[in-house]
Symmetry: C2
Subunit: 270 residues, 2 copies
């Protein structure tokens, strides 16, 4: 571990992490960083698409829980991270044009426009932390940072040009902890909340668990004696926007999230 890695892992203030990212010193994953604070999926769209996308999120709160929608043209998400700058404070961005990824960058200052609206959506890191704290294991059979995801047969509620299937992530849970895993994650509706399905993958249109959408070559095998539990995944809105062929969109790169100032417990409903 380098000195920088050690320093970043020890950070407990989201503003410090964002400053390092802004200065170009950290362009890697945010997983496991600044524990206890809410991290967010990012989707930046032109104002012309924003109302449709906002309606899509409101209609599909499990995959798209809205933490903040910025004022058009203003890159500061002043409600969830006062002083932050969405043009520089995310480690890596994907740039999309007409539904195709055209670039991956660490700074979008030169791409910013007066008509852009940023959506910050809750992500699963928050409820994974809660599962960890409660002693519910959910990573058996996978590398620590690999979470297999699948396209389901569940159609999201469409809104304007945005439509498409729900994407889910899987976590294998010991049978005696399945109910507990529902209770724990239900506390956090702003970060995907309770599972969308427990058990038989075929019931939600997943034909082959061994071949996730993000198969890195090692595939996935459900560990014996575990129940497959599925949560709505934040990849859903990005996929839906790509499918809609939006003229222009910027998202975070997978795992490279925006870290807010909101303590996760502040979002808990219980």
């Amino acid at each position: 571990m380098t000195d920088l890695e050690a320093e970043v892992l020890a950070l407990r203030d989201p503003r410090r992490l964002r400053a390092l990212i802004r200065e170009g010193l950290w362009d890697r994953r945010t997983t496991d960083l600044v524990p206890g604070f809410t991290q967010a999926n990012l989707a930046i769209l032109p104002r012309t698409d924003a109302l449709d996308f906002f309606r899509f999120c409101q209609r599909n709160p499990k995959p798209c829980p809205v933490l903040e929608v910025t004022d058009p043209g203003n890159p500061e998400p002043y409600l969830t991270a006062p002083g932050a700058d969405l043009r520089t404070d995310v480690p890596r961005y994907c740039v999309w044009r007409e539904g195709r990824q055209v670039d991956e960058v660490t700074n979008i200052s030169n791409l910013w426009r007066d008509d852009l609206v940023a959506f910050l959506l809750g992500c699963s890191l928050t409820f994974e932390e809660a599962l960890d704290k409660a002693g519910v294991p959910f990573r058996p059979g996978t590398a620590r940072r690999y979470r297999p995801i699948y396209t389901t047969s569940i159609e999201c509620v469409p809104a304007g040009i945005f439509q498409g299937p729900l994407v889910v992530s899987i976590r294998p849970i010991p049978p005696d902890l399945v109910v507990r895993s529902v209770q724990i994650t239900a506390r956090f509706p702003m970060t995907h909340g309770a599972p969308v399905h427990i058990g038989d993958p075929a019931a939600i249109g997943i034909a082959d668990l061994s071949n996730p959408d993000n198969n890195d070559g090692s595939g996935f095998a459900l560990p014996p004696g575990h129940v497959p539990v599925f949560w709505a995944c934040g990849v859903t809105p990005q996929r839906v926007a790509v499918r809609a062929g939006v003229k222009f969109m910027i998202t975070h790169a997978p795992g490279h999230m925006f870290v807010t100032d909101i303590p996760s417990e502040q979002l808990a409903v219980l």
Copy 2:
């Protein structure tokens, strides 16, 4: 009680009530009608103001819990009331131009436009039903349908042109049931949820409890031995839109709500 009143009070299907309203047979309050189903505050705005208003609602979920936002130009709220028509299915509408009420009507078909977006927001009738069912009295000192409201010193989080103070309603609760009233209403975040304040009215900028904003002449007196408990009120977004001087807006008339097909229990978080 007339035959019509008896028929309407006995209705248990929101579609039947909306049909009567659509046919012009019922233009009166919806309070106490079709118990168990979610009623909604209505605000219809041109698309140009919709993104700002939507952001205002997202930023102020206690006064403005969003049940549905319709597709621009489509008067059917097909998610919360498939087949309904927002131009005809509300008993009474207020029409506003440049921040002033210019009309009160029972049908807005002639005012509908291709750029109008309707916001359906949760209202307090749902949690009042829950308080009733749980045996928590909250009407002492007031007529059954009169709920005093007050402008507070709490500023809503602004969004674009929309800004202004939070409006609250008061319910006097016996001291031993205050905690229970929090628990019961917290189950329904989509219909204002838990109180925003318990106790001293001055703490939220209410100087004179005896003079509510909607003083009908009889004023209000806190019954001895009761605690004043304040909930966010759905009048807030309407006031804020009026204050913004929006060019055109249509709302429900007070107490004349849109009745959805959503069972209130379906919106409960616990």
